[in-house]
Amino acid sequence: MKSYLPFQVSEKKMAIVTFVVVLTLPFILSFNPYYLSIFISALILGSVSLAWNLLAGVCGQVSFGHAAFFGIGAYASALLVMKAGFNPFLAMAGAAMTGVMGGLIIGIPAFRLRGPYFALSILGFAEVMKLLTLNLTSLTEGSKGVFNIPSLPLIKLGGMTFDFYISRTTNYYLAAALMFAIYLSIYFIRHSNIGLAMSAVHGDEETASGIGVPVFKTKIIALTVSAFCTALMGSFYAHYVHFLNPDSAFDGFWSVMPIVGSLFGGIGTLIGPSIGALVITGLDEFLFKRFFETGHKLFFGLLLTIVIVWAPVGLLGKWVKKR
């Protein structure tokens, strides 16, 4: 695409700028707990958007139900700690693997067909998971929800203590670190052979399979990695808010917002989705909610519609140089 912009930034520089901003943001906000809590959820969302984008932006498989993985991760982690006595950090890993299992359950039947089948199957899957969580009351407490989920344990590293129970700042930086780790993994996947295969599948499935790309396997890998990252963030969320119920963990918010964030930030880039998610959360909190208190999410729909029709590369996508 020919650019009419005065300058373009490479993907790497954009990522560095983003993470510098993320790291300095608490200082700018002078560690105000209210703002920090907003940006912690923004970081969670940013990470889920990165994961969503690996599947949709890189591999071309749109998902309308990432809330399924988020909720699975959140519940698995909470239950592993509270019912099986796992260490919360170990439980996070376990929860992420549970997310992978969820991905396989829906991916294996749905990826047999091309086109919109996967996108809609996973939407149904998210609904079913919510329903199961509501009804398996002996395990999940149903609609009552799970209370008093322990936070991540104290870490003492050299002279520093990281307390996840009291300090918002610590949680903020852990979320930032998780987002960074997810970004790096996605960056390396994208620039590996598997990433090339995903890109080929996105371009044209028939040609891809013609030149020997295992289409089904590639899609499954993209889905499981994406599910892994999403469930990991879900598990972080569970230990951060200490309370889960089916409505909060499987909220459609976790399905919709990664899409809005990714498209807004630029679906063709790797770092764009997280920037998009951060900006959107800010806009939502400080602008949209002032206009319409109950229906503020209608702006997300509007934004999605406008971006996809008039700026399909995303608003930031134009600034990022294609290699």
């Binding site: 949709a56 071309g60 749109v62 309308f64 294996i108 039947p109 749905a110 047999r112 067909l113 086109g115 919109p116 089948y117 996108a119 809609l120 199957s121 939407l123 149904g124 899957f125 609904e127 079913v128 329903l131 199961l132 509501l134 009804n135 459609g252 919709v256 899409i259 498209l263 319409f292 109950t294 229906g295 503020h296 999410k297 209608l298 997300f300 729909g301 509007l302 934004l303 999605l304 519609t305 996809i308 029709v309 399909p312």
Partner: protein
Amino acid sequence: MISTASIIQSLLSGMLEGMNYALYCLGLAFVFGIMRIINMAHGEFLVLSGYIAYWLLVKWGFNPLLSLPIAAVIAAGASFLSYRVFLQRIRTTAELNTLILTFGIGIFLSNLYLQLWSADIRNIGVDWMEKPLMLAGIYISFGEIITFTISFIGVAALHSFLRHTKMGKAIRITAIDRDAATLAGINVERVDLLAFSIGGLLAGLGGPLLGMLSFVSPGTGLHITVKAFILTVLAGVGSIPGLIAAGMILGIGEAMTVTFVSSSYRELFGFALFLIILLVRPSGLFGKRI
């Protein structure tokens, strides 16, 4: 608990409900079959007409059956506008774009309903509809029979419209081969616009019926879209009579689940069936192999 009467009861109410399912998903199946577009806003158009009928009833005391055509036309108008303003511009780009676009329209609409009509569930109940008819221990409400009839007429009307009118034939030809249709002098752009509006009209027929039988709420739309997609896959893309059969299978299956297992697992039946169909026979029960 399990008696012959309860089995017959669930069979019958499942069949009645299944016919309505066929109508609820008709618009989505039609648009998907003709245009290869999954309209993620389908359920929201359906809910829109439900709200219109609710409003007409509450404000002016309209009979829901009378407001049915009005509400359907308004839903068709909303569908027309969505196509004209947004969809037409990206029709030729990647298939996934239309999916995300209609999803965006759906989010916009459902949150608009939330803002306008709050999250409360709205029922368009009228007394004479809830009158029970008892036949040898089997219970049917009068409303169920009426909605069954309307649904049947809706499905049959679409079927014969596509088979026997010139416009219907133009739509079918365009679905089979766009280039050939253009060569034959068909304005394919117009056909697309028409087909998408018909999809909205069909969704609009379902809304008031849904409101009469159960309720509409801002969250209902997405739920209906998912159910409609499940049914479309079950029936096989492009098979309209198949939709009735698939609707009835789903309806009876759900009613049986409620009778013999638990009402909370009702939705699970459809999804489990859907996954099995995807694995065993992806072309659907009545569709051609793809």
